[in-house]
Amino acid sequence: MQTVDYSQELAVIEKGPSLREIDEIISKPLETKPDKKYYLALSITVTMLMIGVVGLGLSFYYGTGLWGNNNPVGWGFPIVNFVFWVGIGHAGTLISAILFLFRQKWRTGIARFAEGMTIFAVMTAGIFPLIHVGRPWLAGYLFPYPNQHSLWVNFSSPLLWDVFAVSTYFTVSLIFWYVGLIPDFATLRDRTANKIKKITYSIFSLGWRHSNRHWQHYEMVYLILAGFATPLVLSVHTIVSFDFAISIIPGWHTTIFPPYFVAGAVFSGFTMVQNVLIFIRKIFNFEHIITLDTLEKMNKIILLTGSMVGYAYAMEFFIAWYSGVQPEQFAFINRAFGPYAWAYWIMVTCNVVFPQLFWIKKIRRTIPVMFAIAVLVNVGMWFERFVITVTSLSRDFLPSSWAYYTPTLTDFAILIGSFGLFFTLMLLFTKTLPVVSIAEVKAVLEDSQPSHKDH
């Protein structure tokens, strides 16, 4: 077994490549023609995407009656998927902003990629509330704009807060991402010989000259954006949880929801980042940039957030019992032993039991095992949203209105399509933009900073 000496700070980037090598490794995917495997992967994801497009097309044409949503369960798959995808996005901001504030150098190798994931995940998530309103072309009503009805939006509704939170989150993530890309565009601009690429990179690099007068402001902006993105990312899933918590449905109306949702979001986001990174580092030979140590650190965060989520599950039960509120107690017993018990126990095993294996160092450092655990966690986190949304709605206060929710084929088509969209964007991203921040990685190489010998 490989032993690691934790007493010393590890080099973030292994094997000490030179600065030029870094450029070469990172920009290689952009400069080489995609190979067969890439096209194969792309064809799979595009097929998935097309399945989703068909599902959406049918839903628009015939209406949302094609979905499984029924009378008590008005939220069904669309909201489950929305919460799931927004959650996936959270890891990106956590890595790029929160870990940046904590000065965690190991984030540099994975930050760009995770931020990209944030953007794509939020884009994917955004589809669901729009289609869930049934007539997505009326989505403009979500924003307060002077309209011919001289009506404004309802500022008291958490669904409206969602509109503000998610659109702000998307915009700020995009800006953050782009600001990070500026120096890399400049580096690429100076590398490329291709005319069209040169013009494109020149435009996007905004005349960046790696000037230290600029770097100074640039680092400040980065710090400020990280400072804003940190409370922002916490607010986004808090507000998503308000969609549930502000209502009075048993099982939703709890104060634990905001922290519980945020922890869950980071949890699922990290597993998704970890999953995708395992492929990326292998395919593009980034093993020295995205090291095993980095993956191990991610696994530790997965363990931490997984335990937090497990704690929240237990706490929900405790509060239900302790509060003495009968509907609340019923809601939880119903979750664990009612018609959706199967979903509940999938959720508990995947989210609480499996991540505990990461206490073992060997598992934290074995790629196939951690990959499998992360996939399971993603499944579990999807089921968590399913359990929360569906079990509470399907059996609310009035037994005469109870109903079992069964998703339809169209629901599944749209779910598959969302994965298709996400992974298609991801694949295109790996071939068009540097998936690792060149400038940031260079800055954390050994010997890349002045040694201050003369001080």
Binding site: R20, G140, N212, M220, K442, P450
Partner: protein
Amino acid sequence: MSEKVLFAITAIFNTPDEIIKAAEKTAENGYKKFDVNTPYPIHGMPNAMKLGRSKLGFAALVFGLSGILAALLMTFWMSAIDYPIIIGGKPYFAFPKYVPIIFEVTVLAASIGTVVTMLFFFFKFPNNSHPLHDSDYMKKVSTEKYGIYIQADDVLFNAEEIKKFLNELGAAEVGEIYWDDDEVSTSPKILEPKFLGFLAVTAIIISGTTYFGLNKLMFMVPFNWMMEQDKALPQETSNIFADGFAMRMPVEGTISRGTIPYPYYGKPELAEKLMINPLDYSEENLALGKKKYDVFCSPCHGYFGEGDSKLRGQYPNPPSIHSEKVRLWSDGRIYHVIAEGQNVMPSYSTQMTREEKWATILYIRALQRALNAKESDL
């Protein structure tokens, strides 16, 4: 070839230690217009170059505060002034529920504002063409080398001296950069017509698409199944029925619930004699009467019953209801006119309930009394 104008003397160094020393020395020697180019930010460089702290934090503060203020005013104006509506029994302006909105708008404004300030104010975007671009120097510093340059327009500039100075610092290479012919100025290009034109076009495109999206696109409904239903609407023709009308008469001999048929069709004398107004003069009854009169009768009879029809001659003007004849009629006789109609005046039996008819009659009496007041009213 025209004489080229010198932009700066450049020097390339191999290690971060050397460049930071070079920067320190350059600043110590009193050069102001110099810059260091490195592929990534070097710790301690702003100090070495004697640059102050970046002032971007203030920009963030200003934009953040404006965001707070804007969101506060927006929510306040929209929900307490322009369209006050009570939601969930809360006051019109319920601060706590606006906190999420205010927070998000603040973050959005501050982030966009700070980045835009950095680009436009500190980086002087769109200064996209610069003598350094496309030079060998640039290519090196953007990958693996550390470069410094001193500009020719620095007050202390002396080409020979600077070259010597840089060589002494241990530069790996010392070189010169010249202006391209078409870019001999670093003045901000933000006011150039080309750029302003670009901004104007962007603004027009963005506002145009927003307008189109919100005011046109949203109402171009792709499918409108709800509007197209297989049913007959009033006033439409229908080929199911022999008479070609979609609207049907009630089945003969039936009445709708709650209706009491009018018994005196064609017998005004009986109506005059036998019917008594069951309502008495109360404020409510008069208010109801006024409402119904204004709706049903005033188009022809005028608001005060003087026969001043609002139909401008498109319909025969009715006589005044202040005539002696109508004043002396009993309530039942007027009821008869409303229920049956009279010559060109149509019947109102289906439009108004019995109570409404009687209330209208009370109101007519009040109108009549107003024009022909008794002495006791004075």
